[in-house]
């Protein structure tokens, strides 16, 4: 299960595919603030990224620097990402 949704946080792990987008959206509609833990997420499908961008929850576990292991997180940066 690449997505672990609880009352207190959503934890994304591994590779989140397109089908997770709807689940995550439903969870975020119920918990608009998040937080969403992305530290263990290797890749998220565009649809999932879209949900995160549109709903703007608090993200936790983002790598501090620009060279985190998960390149997909770059999409969430408002000014783009230099690699």
């Amino acid at each position: 299960m690449p997505m672990d949704l609880s009352e207190t946080a959503a934890v994304l792990t591994g590779i989140c595919d397109v089908a997770e987008a709807e689940t995550l959206l439903a969870w975020l509609q119920a918990h608009p603030q998040g937080p969403v833990d992305v530290s263990a997420c290797e890749h998220a499908h565009t649809a999932v990224v879209q949900v995160l961008m549109a709903m703007r929850p608090t993200l936790t576990g983002q790598p501090a620097g620009d060279d985190g292991p998960a390149a997909w997180l770059g999409a969430l940066r408002p000014q783009g990402k230099a690699v």
């Binding site: 987008a21 509609q29 499908h45 565009t46 879209q50 961008m53 709903m55 000014q79 230099a82 690699v83």
Partner: protein, 795 residues
């Protein structure tokens, strides 16, 4: 490739093919309708996208070429000609054939590569011809190359631009900039655009931005792609084009030249406004967050408050800027007033963009504004407008579940078995009474039977509803058929279709397809005249072919009518069965019912010349056989010079039949209830004999008798076994092919609902039975094929 993926692809592609072929025909009628072209483009495009999943390069090549040509048509670079439509349709046929091959063998057949290459080459040749014929583009090419191909390059973050400029100066590179705007429906074709971007070689920088502002959380459709990606990559143009070949129509790709980057720098050389450098970044943050706030959807009631707070923040910020921004406070006020009045965010967004342009030291205000204006980057939507149409969402709401037909058939069979099982309850009730002597028990079982009976009936109706499809499924393909044939025969034909929405069981509708094709071909080839002949006959040059479907009680009536020359009855008589001694009987029979029916006989054609379309004399025979097989009837009315009308009547559903049971020599047989006229008992004295033929007179009608015992060779062939001393005979009067016949049986029994299964294995050759059904007590009921039996009796 997984089987499910492939089967999904196949069914989707077939649907798209249907859509596309409808689209091409519609396009021929209304060549300028952008909606039609766009739909067409979309279906071809979706096919291309999906085909990328499989190793079917010829397929992809053909749809790709078709897509490119369509794109040119859409852009007005190429004018759609009839030959082009022919080629498109030919391409669709090829694709349909490849789909069949894929389904059968999991791969394209031999020769696919050549066929694909030839087709795509021919498609592309139109593209070249069309392009050559077009007048030179209004914009001079030299001018175009001066402009930065992607305006946003100049608006890259300063650090990215600086490092790129340095690298270019040091001779590194080449660098490319891409802008990738996936289709809204991209997710449905299995794309992960972000992944595509991340897989690109030499990625230096990328960003993802919404194409339109995010809608309110409740209206958000996660499966509609609303992102646009921009990236700078250290790779050459061709390598990137290869990586992005499946999405190339969604990509803007440009080589990055030093001057593109310098453009921005040049703009910055004349900084109009200057905040102290250490304040620039927080100021930009503030501006960006205001813009985000404007773009974020929210409750319309909070709008005035939100605008107010944005106004205050912006005013305070502008106060810190120098005289270059002197006009901004006034513009802000105007924009605020405008926003309050019309709820349009555009003016405010423009003010923010202008301020941002002034603040960002490395950013030319002009370039930014241009980018804003040309990219449609910023929302020009009114605040309280309903969200823009979201086709993906619509489609998801209305989309039906796709279910494998086998599953529905399984459900249908189960419902049928339930009906059969239910039939055993009355037997059980009898046993309870007769064997165990419990009358109350029997009554209770019967009460339960009524309940189960009702539920089973409802269940059956519900399953039947699931299987019902509109005849449009079959009718739609005729547009194409009529067009192709009319073009080939140089006739002008208008096809009118009525009652497309009439529904019938899927099997019936599918069985309908072939006979209808024959009938339509006959009408087009033999019925409708050439424009010249029609003029001579005083008719409009354009022939009319009308295809009508309607429901009449539990039958579907399909009519094919043309206003052509009608059937030449004399010709039919001369060539038909009458010309062959062995079929004279058939002719006599037909004379009673109208000679037009004769065309149904095998081996008959009135066409002087056999064409490749029809005229071999097999068509109508096939039609009749097929219609009969589904339990339907077919009649022909024709008036010389006025036209022909063929009427087919089919049962709505083929699954559950009501049959009446009869006894013959201690065996039980079924007779389909729809062919039964009446059941009578006649005294032996009422039977007239003429040689070996027996007849009765019933209500002034002379009805020939057919003794089932004799025909089926049961018992001694005589007697009736009913033990009646008075010699009374039980006669079941049936209507077969328009003639009434009395079947002499031993006894009548009740009617019953059953599912008739065709006989298979070695029994399949027994043509006197149309099938078998299972009775409630577990015994097998053979259902008589009356037509066959009666032919046995008299021929």
């Amino acid at each position: 490739m997984t089987p499910t993926l492939l089967s999904q692809f196949l069914s989707e592609c077939r649907e798209l093919l249907e859509q596309a072929s409808r689209g091409f025909l519609a396009l021929e009628k209304t060549p300028d309708d952008p909606a039609v072209i766009n739909d067409l483009f979309r279906s071809v495009h979706t096919m291309k996208g999906a085909s990328g999943l499989f190793d079917i390069a010829p397929f992809t090549a053909v749809v790709h070429a078709a897509e490119d040509l369509l794109d040119a048509v859409r852009a007005g670079r190429v004018v759609l000609a009839a030959e082009m439509t022919d080629l498109f349709l030919e391409g669709l046929d090829q694709i349909a054939q490849w789909l069949d091959e894929l389904e059968a063998g999991g791969a394209l057949g031999a020769g696919a590569a050549e066929a694909g290459k030839a087709l795509s080459g021919r498609l592309r040749s139109f593209l070249r011809d069309g392009a050559a014929a077009e007048p030179p583009a209004p914009a001079a090419p030299a001018e175009a190359s001066d402009r930065p191909p992607l305006p946003w390059i100049a608006a890259l973050p300063a650090d990215v631009r600086a490092s790129l400029t340095a690298e270019l100066a040091a001779g590194h590179g080449p660098f490319c900039a891409i802008e990738y705007t996936p289709h809204e429906q991209a997710f449905y074709s299995g794309d992960d655009p972000l992944f595509t971007v991340l897989q690109l070689p030499g990625r230096r920088w990328f960003e993802a931005q919404p194409v339109t502002p995010w809608p309110a959380p409740d209206d958000f459709d996660p499966f509609r792609c609303n992102l646009r990606f921009r990236a700078i990559l250290a790779a050459n143009h061709d390598a990137l084009a290869h990586h992005l070949r499946y999405v190339e129509d969604q990509i803007a790709l440009a080589d990055l030249r030093p001057e593109d980057l310098a453009n921005g720098a040049a703009g910055a050389a004349a900084p109009l406004a200057a905040l102290p450098a250490e304040l620039a970044e927080p100021a930009l943050d503030i501006l960006d967050s205001q813009r985000q706030m404007l773009e974020t959807a929210g409750d319309p009631e909070t709008w005035p408050g939100r605008i107010g707070s944005i106004g205050v923040v912006l005013a305070r910020l502008l106060a810190h800027m120098d005289e270059a921004a002197a006009d901004l406070p006034a513009r802000l006020e105007a924009a605020l007033a405008e926003a309050g009045k019309t709820r349009s965010v555009a003016p405010l967004v423009e003010v923010i963009a202008a301020a941002r342009g002034l603040v960002q030291p490395a950013q030319a205000a002009g370039a930014d504004m241009d980018a804003v204006a040309t990219n449609g980057d910023l929302p020009r939507r009114r605040w309280d407008d309903p969200p823009a149409a979201e086709p993906g969402k619509e489609a998801r709401k209305t989309a039906a579940i796709k279910v494998d037909q086998e599953r529905i058939d399984a459900l249908m069979n189960l419902a049928g078995e339930l009906i059969v099982a239910k039939n055993s309850l009355p037997f059980l009730a009898h046993r309870a009474e007769d064997v165990y002597g419990s009358r109350p028990m029997a009554r209770e079982i019967k009460a339960q039977y009524e309940v189960i009976n009702r539920i089973a009936d409802d269940l059956q109706t519900a399953v039947m509803q699931v299987r019902m499809v509109p005849v449009a499924h079959v009718f739609q393909r005729f547009n194409r058929l009529v067009r192709d044939l009319a073009r080939r025969l140089e006739k002008q034909i208008r096809l009118e279709i009525e009652g497309e929405e009439t529904e019938a069981d899927k099997t019936v509708v599918e069985e309908l397809a072939d006979p209808l094709v024959h009938l339509m071909r006959n009408s087009i080839d033999h019925g409708l005249e050439t424009p010249a002949d029609r003029r001579l006959a005083g008719k409009p040059e354009e022939g009319l072919l009308r295809l009508t479907a309607r429901q009449s009680e539990d039958r579907v009536i399909i009519e094919i009518a043309d206003d052509g020359r009608g059937i030449d009855v004399e010709k039919v008589k001369g060539q038909g069965p009458g010309a062959r001694p062995d079929r004279r009987g058939a002719l006599r029979q037909h004379q009673r019912r109208g000679r037009a029916q004769l065309i149904m006989e095998a081996g008959l054609s009135t066409a002087d010349q056999v064409s490749d379309l029809s005229g071999r004399g097999v068509g109508m025979d096939v039609v009749r056989t097929m219609v009969r097989r589904t339990g339907g009837t077919i009649t022909v009315h024709s008036e010389a010079g006025r036209g022909t009308r063929v009427t087919i009547s089919l049962p709505l559903s083929m699954s559950v039949h009501r049959v009446m049971m009869i006894d013959v020599d201690h065996d039980v047989f079924g007779v389909p209830i729809e062919s039964i006229v009446e059941s009578v008992r006649v005294p032996a004295s009422g039977i007239h004999r003429h040689k070996s033929n027996e007849t009765i007179v019933l209500r002034d009608r002379l009805i020939p008798l057919c003794r089932l015992r004799r025909v089926l060779d049961l018992g001694n062939g005589h007697g009736n076994g009913n033990g009646r001393a008075d010699g009374e005979e039980s006669v079941l009067v049936v209507n077969v092919g328009g003639a009434e016949v009395g079947l002499v049986v031993d006894n009548f029994r009740s009617g019953i609902d059953t599912i008739i299964k065709p006989l298979d294995g070695i029994l399949a050759g027994l043509r006197q039975y149309s099938g078998a059904a299972l009775l409630g007590d577990g015994s097998v009921l053979l259902v008589l094929n009356l037509r066959e039996l009666i032919q046995c009796r008299w021929t």
